[in-house]
Symmetry: C2
Subunit: 207 residues, 2 copies
DNA sequence: CGTTATTTAAAACGCTTGTTTAAACTGTCA
DNA sequence: TGACAGTTTAAACAAGCGTTTTAAATAACG
């Protein structure tokens, strides 16, 4: 495996675990078993490395998600919100075959990027991958046309909050659930649990 | 105002803005206009300062929230989930009279604590203020008895995710909403928008 | 008033951070 | 073989970090 990929892999799992700010280049290069200077040689800076880690996932996820949402948008019958959100399941879970622990790593990274580094990742996503968001909004609008643009805006951000926050602490939550309820849960179970929640939340009646 | 309080105030707003890891003691003492060494003199360490900032809020919020939830738990008629979550509104908003921007600062700090520093704040809250969680769970159980303990566990964490995540980026979100929809929103509006979402999410039917 | 305790001040501590430098090594092609 | 680009290496860099130390200033009290 190339030095570049060794760095990407190590950075990914450390970033997911401890955040971008909380991970040093020395930890990354030590886990990757490469020289410290290799990061700056191959990526230029830590910030560029973060972008590279995120891009690797987004480039894999984005087309799958686009296709999945397109089906919803183009089907004749009006979709339910549950169907809209379920469109995320397969593309997200397919990240697990893309890379080990891919689904949970990616969602954790997403969460880190939103809270670390003061919204630089929000800028990155909305400028680099705007079509994903557009298609998603369209799908929700088809499912719940009465919802105003403002309400869609807010409820989609609530949804992102739910998902991202849950995933960024999903390891801890799964441990607690295992101890307290003696039930084994994996990331797919968590996704299946969260979908009814957000679908119902977005579909809440307007008073 | 005492040195101690000047430090607490400065630390609070910086922590809320940039996270615990992202804020240095030098930034804090410089904003507070006190000497760098004062933090270690008055609080012992940065970690203890973080605890002190959080405790100041929790000691204010906790009794109000307890009282508000108690009303729900003890009323004769079965509460709706919307009522249960609405019990948070007044205690949370009253933090705004406790301190300027108190509500949003506190919720942002909560969010920081969950994602920064690998769950040390979760430990802090669950061990120092367990009654709040207990009462909340009881209230939800009264409102939706069919929900199993596992499902309550998961959906309450989804709820925390929604609220905390939303609030930790609420400043940015309010700005976007202002630009895109020309509507003025404050923290109270956001809370009023999020309540139907989480109430509906927690109340989602079990399939 | 004098003494003791508390609080501030400035400087330095040792350590970690991201980044850069310059030399050594590796493989490829003429 | 010898030159050359691409990589890797170890060492150093300046800057920032949390914390500690020293001494001076202030407050409290017998």
């Amino acid at each position: 495996m190339s030095t570049k990929n060794k760095i990407l892999d190590a950075a990914e799992s450390l970033f997911a675990d401890k955040g971008f700010n909380g991970t040093s280049l020395r930890e990354i290069t030590s886990l990757a078993e490469v020289n410290l200077a290799a990061v700056n040689y191959h990526f230029g800076s830590k910030k560029e490395l973060i972008k590279a880690v995120m891009s690797r996932y987004m480039n894999e996820l984005s087309p799958n998600l686009q296709a999945s949402l397109l089906v919803i948008c183009q089907q004749e019958t009006k979709p339910t919100l549950h169907e809209v959100f379920s469109a995320f399941i397969e593309p997200l879970l397919s990240l697990n075959v893309f890379r080990e622990n891919g689904t949970s790593n990616f969602l954790q990274l997403l969460g880190r990027g939103y809270t670390d580094s003061q919204g630089f990742l929000r800028w990155f996503l909305t400028t680099q991958y705007p079509e994903v968001i557009t298609n998603f909004v369209t799908a929700v609008q088809r499912a719940y046309p009465e919802l105003s643009a403002e309400d869609i805006f807010w409820r989609l951000h609530f949804t992102m909050g739910t998902v991202i926050f849950t995933m960024s602490s999903s390891d801890a939550l799964m441990d607690i659930a295992k101890n307290d309820f003696e039930q084994d849960v994996d990331i797919a179970d968590v996704i299946r649990k969260v979908i009814p929640f957000v679908a119902s939340g977005v579909g809440a009646p307007l008073d």
